[in-house]
């Protein structure tokens, strides 16, 4: 089984790019692969806990928690990008890591495939 590293910059709601990242991760996990999901820039808003699920907005906390429970999914949020947005360690979904950007590069090092979803 192989490893996919996904990097994302998109914000939680709006572009559906984070929905894409979450759904692609889920599909890869279901096929037995492992996935590292790196959140940088506005994507760090995905790691904020206590998102209220409305029908008009993407609500990704639940699928993220389900994927974390597989043990083959790691989600890591850029520390500086989070702090700049007022999202602190205590605000984050349990099981999501915070690291500096070098973590992403290390994840790329050991990945079989890397997909960086740029833009917002």
């Amino acid at each position: 089984m192989a490893k996919l590293t996904i990097g994302t910059f998109s914000s939680l709601i709006g572009s559906l790019s984070l929905d894409f990242a979450v759904k692609l991760s889920d599909a890869a996990l279901k096929k037995g692969h492992s996935v590292d999901l790196w959140l940088s820039g506005n994507a760090t808003t995905l790691a904020k806990k206590d998102q209220k699920a409305f029908r008009d907005y993407s609500a990704l906390q639940k699928p993220v928690e389900e994927m974390l429970s597989t043990g083959r999914f790691k989600m890591t949020s850029c520390e500086a990008c989070s702090e700049a947005r007022g999202i602190h360690k205590k605000d984050m979904i349990e099981g999501v890591n915070r690291q500096s950007m070098d973590w992403y590069l290390a994840s790329c090092f050991s990945a079989d495939r890397v997909l960086l979803i740029g833009g917002d």
Binding site: G7, S40, N42, L105, F109, V114, G118
Partner: protein, 137 residues
Amino acid sequence: MAKKTLGFIIKSLPYRDEVSRLAITHAISSQSVDIYLDDGDSVEPILCFIDDGVLNCIKGQEAIKHYGNTSIEMHIENALLVDLKVYICKEDLERFGLTEKDVVLDAEKFGADTKAEIVPYSFIHQKLEEVDHLQFF
């Protein structure tokens, strides 16, 4: 002992979304990636500016003065300071009527030896082929 090369291809305008800035800061973070890797393993990023992305390289950006934000120019200088390879697409510069005088090519004022290079697109495309992983920003 392995080295993985990562191509960071910047096609987006500066100060629109955060993408060109994040591309450069991520590339620079290769300087501290060793803590996660085995001895002797390394990651080498290559930065290429193409298409509208070459406008990130214009000199004299006053982002600090006006918005209190580090400029993309300063990030490029930082990249040169840590000896990253930086390539700027010749054809795209020419398309915008820009010459080597208009863009950031060195960070000599900070003591950097490494210089950015203006190269034809064919050279950049060769790099796209060579790197292990490719990312467009």
